[in-house]
Amino acid sequence: MSVDTALKILTPNDFASDQDVRWCPGCGDYSILAQMKKVLPTLGVPPEKTVFVSGIGCSSRFPYYMNTYGIHSIHGRAPAVATGVKSFRPDLSVWVITGDGDALSIGGNHLMHAIRRNLDINIVLFNNQIYGLTKGQYSPTSPLGKVTKSTPLGTIDNPIYPLSVAIGCEATFVARTVDTNIKHLAMVLKRAAEHRGTSFVEVYQNCIVFNDGAFDYATAKDTKTETTLELEHGKPLIFGKNRDRGVRLHGLDPEVVELGKGISEDDLLFHDERAAEPSLAYLLSRMRYPDFPEPIGVFRAVERPMYDELLNEQIAKAKAKCGEGNLQQLFESGDTWLVE
């Protein structure tokens, strides 16, 4: 039977469950679901070896729509659940689907620790800058001053940037993409899947009901080339419809410059996703619209030992050194005495 499965050419349909998708019509989640189903068959991992883990929120319904194994767990805890899955079964391909509230608010602690442990899992954070499922309160990524149901006078909470957080937690793979940019989205998901270690992907995702248009600047056809910058490893940071503008370093700060007029590509900042230090990735993660174009693509992709591998190595080494555990020996360890 396993032979059948291995030989079968998988299609997106093999990864689709029989459940009706219940997101609002026009939700950005549909696009992410569609691209995920497209990417998974290209990875060579059968559905039964794939596990989707989620927490609570709109995005966290994702596992129900995949014909893989899945756990729709409790609020904020998906990275911890995934840690258990991957630690015990390193052979499985594990995805965490989460949102800005789930990952950065109630589950901030687990996100931090999953990333620092560098388990070989993929975390996809749907960032819509709002609480959708609880019907429209501000989230930890909502911009300052945002008027929502719980902040009629505007938020007074300073937002955090998911990628900066991930980099601060020693992430080995950090990327950003946009729900409507489906080719880019598919490319990033595939890169995330192929990375060994924790991959952290932020997707700008539109909530059509409670925060419609939050990312219009980054998705609108007429502005997106000006407001976003597609990162490519080894290439200079260039953007603009006519690719006539770039980002260079001025001291420790980035600045936008126009090419020509004595400034050539060589003067620009060159992207290096494999840089040993995360300084460049962090700098990129801080570039915000409207002062800068917001980078999309892979910010950082480096290798570091993985928790799940190390854990299971320790088990294997202990078995090799001490032999398979013997209960009788264990029970009788230390001083014993005989009663006749």
Partner: protein, 617 residues
């Protein structure tokens, strides 16, 4: 041991209780453990009670920093660490002040007289030196030993600094008490060799201090007599001494082997449960994966993830951590995954008394979650019983596909007793089934149930059985998300019935003593020893009383109601304000009375004897 005889003799006694106490840095826990192991190896039955402060090093010399270790050893079966002390070793004034009340009149009091300077006395709150008090000498056999000086002299040739030399004082004290109770030095000498193998100087110093203490007792002829406690008549077999947390760890490893599952243990450090994590992390060659999580919630949710993948999932904490895990325990109930949740109870509420014992988390275990959320509960009764009871928890978990709560407490977790080592080859398997893969395209039904209402444990990686689980209400059979009114009622009832069915799978409740009569004492958890001893003592005096100790707290054994109804009165002693009593009254309409204490300490046998006698009048 109250009379003082003029010539040196060895007196045969049945049992004795000794307590070592001093500053938390004085090594009293080690002294106590050594005395315990040596007594156990000599064939005594032993029961111990370590009592230490929550602070690692409270200000030196103060009452807050006093750490004690009590050992009861006997030539017969015993179940408690003893009420009153026959001998007390006090290393400083603060230790004397906080422990003297427990010393029996005429008992042996050994004091390190070097630590009674004005400053030391002031730290302990004394305005005058209690050693000068005539009453003290009238009441007890007082032995003032300048232990600090003698220890320094004993180790001076080795060339350690004063601080390091003084660290050997606990071995001097142990040596002295070894002489008093006619004990062999060998086990402790072996321990020293092993423990300090990489520090030969320290090893030699401790050896010398131990011997110096022993020889001091011998050559000074200071004690009126020596005492000897002969071996107890325990059932034949190989024995070792074991602590509750150690027995819990061994039980988990055994249960994993018996069920053919590998153990995944998610835990966040917390007193008094952490020693289980420490012990398990040593045994990776059994396939034990220990995960020290970032918090209590991650500890249980990671464990649920592993359990979903076929692991023997176990998470451990104490009361405050269990409170944090409760939402996830609800997830385990909803997803119907096997899991063992261990609560080593301590004094609450909130941070409470981290190092002291209590059994006030029974209602938390039973009712602490949102919604109708039934979880079977078992409780261990003694250190060695942790081994069996935690295995029973896992057996129920896999048999019924449910999380199970295992209750221990600080008293049995840190206490120890002789344990007859089981024959591993004779342990019965715990049956676990994972449905095999399929390729016929048929739909897998993750919430289809067997006769016990347990659902199949299909693990990721199995072809054809892909399914999603989660915290939303499930449709029975298919496991799909379902919000219908009738389905919710059906699922609530089903989960409740499933846990109720556990009662068909556990032994009927037994009693010790008369089958019916005037009074039944009902206990659960770590109070077993005190209750069993008290009931036995009263019965020996002719009292009509029986004892019923519950291992299964949810569901109760099927015959428990009948058992309770056979007695005129029911007494439920608990280290809480009456939690089991409330449940028994509600479930069986019996007019149970309580004896309740929440002082962070176990029951004394004498207080229970008094209560029983009062109810029998």
């Amino acid at each position: 041991m109250s009379t003082i005889t003029p010539q040196k003799t060895i007196r045969e006694i049945q049992h004795a209780t000794v307590r070592f106490c001093g500053d938390s840095g004085d090594g009293m826990q080690l002294a106590g453990t050594q005395f315990t192991n040596t007594s156990a190896l000599a064939g005594n039955d032993v029961a111990t009670f370590p009592d230490y402060p929550a602070e690692i090093r409270a200000p030196r010399g103060t009452k807050a920093g006093v750490s004690g270790f009590q050992i009861h050893f006997a030539n017969k079966d015993i179940f408690t660490p003893g009420d009153q002390l026959d001998a007390l070793v006090a290393m400083n004034p603060a230790a004397l002040a906080t422990n003297l009340l427990d010393l029996t009149v005429g008992g042996v009091l050994i004091v390190n007289s070097d630590e009674f300077s004005d400053k030391d006395l002031k730290l302990a709150g004394f305005s005058t030196n209690p050693l000068d008090d005539e009453n003290l000498r009238r009441k007890f056999q007082v032995y003032l030993v300048d232990m600090t000086r003698l220890t320094r002299l004993a180790v001076e040739e080795i060339g350690l600094g004063t601080k390091e030399s003084d660290r050997c004082r606990n071995f001097f004290a142990v040596g002295l008490v070894y002489w008093l109770y006619d004990r062999s030095l060998e086990p402790t000498l072996r321990y020293i060799d092993d423990k300090f193998s990489k520090k030969p100087q320290v090893a030699e110093a401790n050896r010398r201090a131990l011997k110096a203490g022993f020889h001091y007792g011998e050559t000074m002829e200071m004690f009126a007599s020596q005492f000897r406690v002969s071996p107890a008549k325990l059932p034949p077999g190989r024995y070792r001494n074991i602590m509750g947390n150690e027995a819990t760890a061994y039980g988990l490893i055994a249960a994993a082997k018996r069920s053919g599952c590998e153990l995944f243990y998610g835990s966040y450090p917390i007193t008094p449960a952490s020693d289980i994590l420490h012990e398990l992390s040593k045994h990776k060659n059994f396939g034990v994966r220990t995960f020290q999580a970032e918090d209590e919630i991650a500890a249980i949710t990671a464990t649920i993830g592993a359990s979903y993948c076929g692991a023997m999932g176990v998470t451990t904490s104490s009361g405050p951590g269990i409170a944090l895990k409760q939402e996830a325990m609800g997830l385990a109930v909803m997803t119907e995954l096997p899991l063992v949740i261990i609560n080593v109870q301590r004094g609450g509420p909130s941070t409470g008394l981290p190092t002291k014992t209590e059994q006030a988390d029974l209602l938390q275990a039973l009712c602490g979650r949102n919604g109708e959320c039934p979880i079977p509960i078992v409780a261990a009764r003694s250190p060695a019983d942790c081994f069996d009871t935690v295995q029973e928890a896992w057996r129920i978990a896999v048999r019924f596909m449910t999380p199970v709560i295992f209750l221990s407490d600080g008293y049995i977790a840190n206490g120890s007793e002789p344990w007859r080592v089981p024959d591993a080859s004779a342990m019965s398997p715990i049956e676990v089934q994972h449905p095999p893969g399929r390729s016929d395209g048929s739909t897998f039904l993750p919430y289809e149930r067997n006769e016990r209402l347990a659902r199949p444990w299909a693990v990721p990686g199995t072809p054809g059985l892909m399914h999603r689980i989660g915290g939303l209400e499930k449709q029975d059979i298919t496991g799909n998300v379902n919000y219908e009114a009738g389905n919710h009622q059906h699922m609530i009832n089903t989960r409740d019935r499933k846990v109720a069915l556990v009662a068909d799978d556990i032994p009927l409740q037994e009693v010790t003593g008369p089958e019916r009569g005037k009074l039944l004492v009902v206990s659960w958890g770590g109070t077993y020893g005190a209750c069993a001893t008290a009931v036995n003592d009263v019965r020996e005096l002719g009292g009509d009383v029986a004892h019923c100790h519950l291992r299964y707290l949810h569901p109760f054994p099927k015959n428990l109601g009948e058992v309770l109804w056979r007695y005129e009165k029911v007494l439920v002693p608990e280290l809480n304000l009456g939690q089991l009593r409330m449940l028994l009254r509600a479930e069986y309409l019996v007019d149970a009375v309580g004896h309740n204490k929440v002082q962070g300490r176990p029951f004394h046998v004498t207080e229970l004897v008094e209560k029983i006698q009062q109810l029998l009048q």
